[in-house]
């Protein structure tokens, strides 16, 4: 090996060493958003059972501390749900049937609204349409392709009694789901 060749290889080695050394923090820094883990399901008390309207869907906000990168905003709306009571309040209030859906459209995540006649649900972005029970309205009935991949995402809930005030509350387990798949899959 000549002296010149040796010097050339040393130059290459030094460069490679520093590239390798610096690339680890660089890549880690760039990929940092991937580390952001989604919160699992969390329970929220939303409304008195007696205040929930019957057979007419109503939207409720999920209010919680909202962390956005370096900022935490207290009492921010972090999600929305649609709730409908579908039966009279039962003697044992726990047996009252209600529907609870996430307002996030399973297509591309816009907020689902109720139509002005309150007889169906619609996503304003790409006109995904749903029946009040959350099932997608058929293409045939719509006259165009319903863009939604699945029905509205139903959420778990519990009807519970407040220890002190003896009021019956609806407690909803709010979580987010993957957009796109034909079956409901929690976002992890």
């Amino acid at each position: 090996m000549t002296r010149r060749k040796l010097l050339k290889s040393i130059c290459t080695l030094i460069s490679l060493f520093w590239i390798a050394a610096i690339s680890s923090p660089v890549v880690k820094f760039i990929l940092s958003p991937l580390k952001n883990k989604n919160e699992g399901p969390k329970k929220y008390r939303l409304v008195h059972l007696s205040q929930l309207k019957i057979n007419s869907p109503e939207q409720f906000n999920i209010v919680s501390d909202h962390r956005d990168a370096w900022m935490v905003t207290p009492n921010e709306t972090v999600g929305r749900v649609w709730m409908t009571r579908t039966s009279e309040i039962a003697e044992n209030p726990k047996e009252t049937t209600i529907r609870v859906f996430s307002a996030v459209c399973p297509h591309l995540g816009c907020t689902i609204q109720s139509t002005s006649d309150k007889k169906s649900m619609v996503c304003p972005c790409h006109k995904g349409m749903f029946h009040l029970d959350g099932e997608p309205i058929s293409n045939k009935k719509l006259g165009y392709k319903n863009p939604t991949p699945r029905s509205m995402d139903s959420l778990n809930y519990e009807i519970i009694k407040d220890e002190k005030s003896e009021e019956w509350w609806i407690e909803v387990e709010y979580q987010k789901f993957k957009l796109g798949p034909t079956t409901k899959t929690p976002l992890s």
Binding site: D68, T73, V122, P147
Partner: protein, 599 residues
């Protein structure tokens, strides 16, 4: 000059421009290139100016852009940046189609063509990264949906989305990421592509020295083509300035996921938006990725395709691509625009947002933007939120409608109509024997047969006409005086004028006709049987009343069905309404909000 040239070789640069020759003569159609260059320069200059005041974060983005609009020339510069970017997109498309038709991509100009074709999508994406930066509702919805479209790409999609948004949702890091892309990465990419594009053009253009002397058509680029370039530029840029001047580009509503709206992409993307209608579910990727991908590859490979096909096929193909492209783009765009035009929901959302846009700018001008960001301006505005909150929380029992029934009508009215609550008219009606038992007041409540109604119906009755007259005069004073307690904005002038009457009325309430037998009024009477009349219908009185109508100060045990909206101070989350919401509803009922004075 020589001094500089001997050190930097700058004359070579100047001469390459000076010595450039157009063998076929100057023409207007060639001016698209020079014109684009100057529009690009304008875009960079306005962009750099905006950077000096823009602040990239969720709470500050909108506020800083609103601040820019208030600076001398600020609104104009921002408008230029906006319209100019779209002019660039349009003109670049025309430029590309022109080059395609003229087959100017042939050997040895392939690199010019390829860099040009790469600049086109880069420029559109560059513009797209800028749209959400002002923190508007439109901008945020667009990047949210765009992010989800990216995420629908198989395998790598979700990762790309997270890297773009800086997490799972549009937020602070989305803005810093987009800012980085918009003012750092894309300028570098575009600079490199454009640099290569232009140096290649000069490398392959004819020079004055190697020109065939017999070519009589040939003219130097400078000034024969340059004057055409600058004329076209002046026309287009003049048009842009005119649009900025006459239409402007008002800063839209700040992002708030609580505002119902129907988002749409920018006009140049509407064709893709329409295309997605025909490819749903797993086929969506065809519209978002495969078709645009194929189109781009086809264009990139144009020099190759041209070489292997005959002159005639190439020509037919090029004309087909151009007409097909224009027809597809405009056809899809038209379809979507026409559908939206007849879509009631969309039109409604558009006018609604226009009203909110005007309002939020008014509020920001008047109050300034608090540190939590512009989002709070509309959220805390009684004028906007009042009716919404009233319908949601009050209108199952209370109406808020004038005598003609205009306003909010309760689903099943079972409590007083709160239209102009606390005003002289309202109180006068309440104290009117003919009205107190009507639906407008106590008609549908337990108080219909209550002590107050009984008192109103029985008082003032007398044999003596003189007595009745006196009583009526006293009641009038009571109305004026009690209504002054509310300190309504709409009555401020009347209250000021009637100071003496109000003072007399105070004495009547305290000592005259027996109000303080049941009610407390300042230092007279006691709490316990009827609502406190001290500061009756004032802001603090109403907030306290709504929070807990069954409080000793108000109805105590005789409270009818009105819920206690905020009486749990230990666990504020368990209340039906928070303090702020109650204040907003109160301010709205009292007609107390900022209104821009128009002349």
């Amino acid at each position: 000059m020589n001094w500089l040239d001997s050190r930097t070789g700058s004359n070579r640069l100047i001469n390459s421009y000076k010595n450039r020759v157009l063998p076929d003569g100057a023409s207007w159609i060639l001016s698209s290139a020079g014109c684009l260059f100057w529009l690009f320069v304008i875009e960079v200059i306005t962009g750099l100016l905006l950077m000096t005041c823009y602040s990239p974060s969720v709470p500050s983005a909108w506020a800083s852009v609103h601040y820019i609009d208030g600076l001398p020339g600020g609104e104009f510069i921002r408008g230029l940046h906006y319209y100019n970017s779209q002019a660039l997109i349009i003109l670049f498309t025309i430029h590309t189609l022109r080059v395609l038709l003229m087959a100017s991509f042939r050997k040895p100009k392939e690199i010019i063509w390829i860099t040009g074709i790469l600049i086109a999508p880069a420029m559109v994406v560059w513009a797209v990264t800028g749209n959400p930066l002002p923190g508007t509702l439109d901008g945020f919805s667009q990047i949210n949906v765009e992010g989800n479209i990216i995420a629908s790409t198989p395998i790598v999609g979700p990762i790309f989305r997270k890297l773009l948004l800086g997490g799972d949702e549009v937020g602070n890091r989305t803005i810093t990421h987009l800012y980085f892309l918009h003012v750092a990465l894309f300028p570098i990419i575009m600079g490199l592509l454009l640099g290569l594009h232009i140096t290649q053009i000069y490398r392959h253009s004819d020079k004055i020295d190697d020109l065939d002397k017999s070519n009589t058509k040939a003219v130097p680029y400078w000034p024969y083509q340059s004057i055409r370039n600058l004329t076209t530029f002046s026309l287009i840029f003049g048009l842009i300035c005119g649009m900025v001047w006459f239409y402007g580009h008002p800063l839209k509503v700040p992002a708030d996921s609580g505002i119902h709206h129907v988002p749409r992409p920018e006009w140049y993307f509407i064709f893709l938006f329409e295309l997605r209608r025909y490819f749903t579910g797993q086929w969506e990727v065809v519209a978002t990725l495969i078709i645009p991908g194929i189109a781009l590859t086809l264009l990139l490979l144009m020099p190759l395709i041209d070489r292997i096909s005959s002159e005639k096929t190439s020509k037919v193909m090029r004309y087909l691509i151009v007409t097909g492209g224009i027809l597809t783009w405009s056809g899809l765009t038209m379809l979507s625009v026409l559908r939206d035009h007849s879509d009631v929901d969309y039109q409604h959302s558009k006018t609604h947002l226009a009203a909110l846009t005007a309002r939020v700018n008014e509020l920001a001008d008047h109050d300034g933007v608090p540190p939590q960001g512009a989002i709070t301006l509309l959220r805390n505005d009684p004028k906007i939120q009042g009716p919404i909150l009233f319908i949601k929380h009050c209108s199952s029992c209370h109406s808020h409608a004038d005598a003609n029934g205009k306003g909010i009508i309760a689903e099943s009215p079972s409590a007083p109509n709160l239209y102009q609550f606390g005003s002289r008219e309202w109180i006068q009606g309440l104290l009117d024997p003919e009205k107190i038992q009507s639906e407008h007041y106590f008609g549908k409540t337990e108080f219909k047969e209550g002590e107050m109604a009984e008192w109103i119906l029985s008082s003032g009755d007398s044999e003596e006409e003189e007595d009745i007259k006196d009583f009526k005069a006293e009641m009038k004073q009571v109305v004026i005086s009690l209504s002054a307690q509310a300190q309504l904005k709409s009555q401020a002038e009347m209250d000021k004028k009637d100071t003496d009457l109000i003072r007399e009325g105070d004495t009547v309430i305290k000592e005259g006709i027996g109000c303080t037998d049941c009610h407390q009024y300042h230092d007279a009477g006691e709490l316990g049987s009827g609502p406190d009349l001290t500061d009756y219908a004032s802001r603090s009185w109403m907030v306290d009343f709504i929070s807990n109508p069954a409080h000793e100060r108000f109805y105590s045990d005789s409270n009818d069905r009105m819920p206690k909206f905020h009486d749990n101070f230990k666990e504020p989350n368990k209340n039906l309404l928070d303090q702020k919401t109650i204040e907003i509803i109160t301010d709205w009922i009292r007609g107390d909000w900022y209104e821009l004075e128009r002349d």
